[in-house]
């Protein structure tokens, strides 16, 4: 099995508080992998360690064969990863179009260009509009991000993770706070956008997890409790003991 | 004792006196920064304002001690008014707004003192008992400066006791490191803010009165000590009292000895040290908050 992402013996502590213990995560190329666990299990910390927010206390993170343990977020994005946040984090005063365009510009390596008017870069504009089409936000093209409804803003957030066209997409609770009806829509959007990509998703909503995931890893107290196919996890006694009832939620 | 040692000691005492006063000013500044995340540009202006208040009180009552008590209190009141009605409104909008307001306040105070008291430097003689010299180990040293060192030490000990031995002190210390958490615990943060602001301003005011007999009262006072206090806070660490104390004393001594031996470059030296500290430790020597 070809693993696009691996963490080896990952440990992380915050001033003495052990948050991640011996995490050995394996994400296969092209799979949809869900990370679940109770609050405080260390899921977002794991994401942060992988995407460069912080360097883990010890252990290694290998992405496509490269050691990215101490890489910074911008290096990780350039290497082919994208990340969305649990708390919506877009460029709030910019329009939806401008938000997505930042990703396109970055993907093309246009970072320090002060010599051409960006609005006159027609190929960039076209590509950005294409992305807007795909995420069904074309009618909000010129709306400032902060004026979007919560659900649409979340959709933008998720799209920003993919705007740089990454191979590996990391989504942190993408459906957080979204109403039941909009959740189905968001899930189908995620499924469409992550075709031909590898995806790792943190989720609390078990329906979302079971409808999307090829494999599930359960995190508890910073350790991997279990990892396997959805059926394996559903029938895993330890997992059931860890959150009695949480799986039957909703 | 030979005269060279005597000179060193005298210089040292000068430096100590200035360092203590500097700490009185810088401690307020660093506490306010720790709590509110802004460096109050007008802080040194309060220092200067207090000197002017004292001068005026001296004109009316002829009593230095009355000035020493009342002027800092008046200044603290002005500070609280500014905090309560101007700064508090800006808090929701982020640091830039607050900083700009403090700039405005600084300008207003600077110009107002010149409007009311003119631009000349005003003499403020120390009270009779504190005039003159006293003999320490063979050198004559001005009594007044010893008084300044003593008074500053006294205030600082009280401050230390309050901060570390009382409940309110503990709350303030917590609020300086993590105001959101303290707020979440149900403690009235705005009141604590005002309190810290008032005390910080009061200490700056006290220092303003204390320094006046030494260097007179003039509009440039704010610039002078402002620059120094600011360097102290940045080097010692935002929010760190211990750091501010250490750096103040070192700065006072360096200044004193520096002026004797390295002449003009003392302030520049300090800036260089500050820049180096910031490169190595962007939060100052002991700072915790960003």
């Amino acid at each position: 099995m070809n693993n696009i992402l691996e963490t080896k013996n990952l440990f992380h502590d915050f001033s003495g508080l052990q948050v991640l213990s011996n995490v050995n995560l394996e994400v296969a190329d092209g799979e949809r992998h869900a990370i679940i666990g109770p609050n405080g299990a260390g899921k977002t910390t794991l994401f942060n360690a992988i995407t460069g927010t912080y360097t883990p206390s010890s252990g290694n993170i290998i992405f496509r064969g490269r050691d990215i343990t101490s890489a910074r977020p911008y290096e990780i994005t350039r290497a082919g990863m994208g990340r969305s946040f649990q708390i919506t984090s877009t460029f709030h005063r910019l329009t939806v179009f401008q938000n997505i365009r930042m990703g396109i510009l970055s993907k093309k390596g246009i970072r320090y260009n002060l010599f051409r008017r960006v609005d006159k870069m027609l190929d960039i504009t076209r590509e950005t509009d294409e992305v807007l089409e795909r995420i069904n936000l074309t009618e909000y093209r010129d709306t400032p991000a902060e004026l979007l409804s919560y659900g649409k803003h979340r959709a933008l957030e998720i799209s920003m993770a993919m705007a740089t066209d990454p191979e590996l997409v990391m989504l942190d609770e993408p459906t957080a706070g979204i109403s039941k009806d909009e959740t189905e829509y968001t899930v189908s959007l995620i499924r469409k956008l992550t075709e031909n990509k590898t995806m790792v998703i943190i989720e609390h909503d078990m329906d979302v997890v079971f409808s999307l995931a090829d494999r599930i890893t359960v995190l508890h107290h910073g350790e991997i409790l279990a990892s396997g196919s959805p059926d394996e996890i559903k029938n895993n006694q330890e997992v059931k003991d860890a959150y009695l009832g949480e799986m039957e939620e909703e | 004792m030979d005269s060279m040692t005597a000179v060193y000691i005298a210089q040292g005492l000068h430096g100590l006196a200035y360092g203590m006063l500097l700490f009185l000013v810088a401690s307020g500044l660093t506490l306010i920064f720790g709590m509110m995340g802004i460096l109050n540009i007008a802080h040194a202006s309060f220092f200067m304002l207090s000197g002017y208040f004292c001068y005026q009180i001296l004109q009316w009552t002829g009593n230095f001690w009355v000035g020493l008590i009342i002027a800092p209190l008046l200044t603290a009141i002005v500070g609280v008014v500014v905090e309560r009605f101007l700064l508090r409104r800006m808090r929701a909008f982020g640091h830039v707004g607050e900083l700009l307001v403090t700039v405005g306040i600084m300008l207003i105070i600077l110009e107002s003192v010149q409007y009311f008291w003119g631009t000349e430097s005003l003499p403020l003689p120390p009270p009779h008992i504190l005039e003159g010299m006293v003999s320490i180990a063979g050198i004559a040293y001005p009594i007044y400066r010893l008084f300044v060192i003593g008074m500053a030490l006294f205030v600082l000990v009280i401050l230390f006791l309050i901060l570390y031995k009382t409940r309110i002190g503990m709350i303030v210390r917590a609020a300086v490191t993590d105001p959101d958490m303290v707020n979440a615990l149900g403690i009235n943060i705005p009141v604590i803010f005002s309190l810290v602001f008032a005390v910080g301003t009061w200490m700056a005011g006290l220092a303003g009165v204390a320094i006046a007999p030494i260097i007179t009262v003039f509009p440039g006072l704010a610039d002078q000590i402002g620059m120094d206090a600011f360097v102290v806070v940045i080097t010692g660490g935002f929010g760190s009292l211990g750091g501010a104390f250490l750096v103040s004393i070192v700065y006072g001594l360096l200044n004193s000895y520096g002026i004797q031996f390295i002449s003009q470059l003392a302030p520049v030296l300090m800036f260089i040290v500050m820049a180096l500290v910031l490169i190595v430790k962007p939060m100052g020597l002991f700072g915790e908050r960003e």
């Binding site: 709030h92 510009l105 970055s106 970072r111 920003m160 | 830039v96 300008l107 600011f230 800036f271 962007p282």
Partner: protein, 326 residues
Amino acid sequence: MTTKRLSWIFWIALLLFLLLYPHIFGAYYTNVIVIFGIFSLFALSVNLLLGFTGLLSFGHAMFFGVGAYGVALALTHIEGCPLLVALLIGIGSSFIFALIISPILVRASGTAFAMLTLAFCMLMYTLSLKLRNITQGEDGIGGFPIPDLNILGIVSFEMTDPVNFYYFATAVLLISMWGLWFITKTPFGMVIISIRDNAMRVDYMGYKVVNSKALVLLVSASFAGVAGSVYALFQNLVSSDGVFSIMTSFAPLIMTVIGGVGSFFGPIVGSGVMMLLEEVVTRYTERFSLVSGIVLVLVVMFVPMGLTGVVKIAREKWVLRRAANE
């Protein structure tokens, strides 16, 4: 008539106005408008950091001053230094100065950044006072020769003539303002306003934020240097209190805030308003800074979007009202 056409007409009219200005208004007001231009550019450079990148610079006078001193020193020490060379030396000095201090500055944000810039500016102020043999200390460098503007050796204009200088200065300042405006419309311009909104997200989009901050600092410093250079040529006196003082740093800030940080033209509006205010206020009192301080506090507290912001809101309301009535 389309907005684009109106726009063209506006700019052409403005250009014509500027061309004929000295002949309409005479020498005194010609000098006034040069100062207006200098401070407008200076304020624009400050706003590139404040309004566009979200970085408050309390010490921008340092770039202004380095530019000014650069010109003054070049013209004092280099025999027969041509005008444009002196100008370039001034701008280059600011650029190099910014380059040197940028590694320290770019690692800071918010209050720390503001304080660092203030510290560096104070440092420059102190240095310029102490290094008497270079900068003549308090007295400053003055009376240096202002060379003629020599274009390709064919035609030459005396810069001591206020009208000639006006055309030269206006050309330089206008080109610079246009340059700044253009930069805000480039991909880099998008990067800096994204940093303003969400620096972390910019990092996660694959941009090295620190590098972008360094670049915007260099750009801003260079344009402040242009303003300072023109100032040196105009004033023929460069001193610590004139170019490195706290007020020199705060004045463009106040202008920017009054005019509005959210608009490119805000600082220009603010500069104009402040100059008008100064003309009026100084008739009644010397204490103009007092008025500045009060205005600053009032604007920041009650009209934080500045005059251009107020106009924008008023225009939007008007458009909405028209739409509602149709």
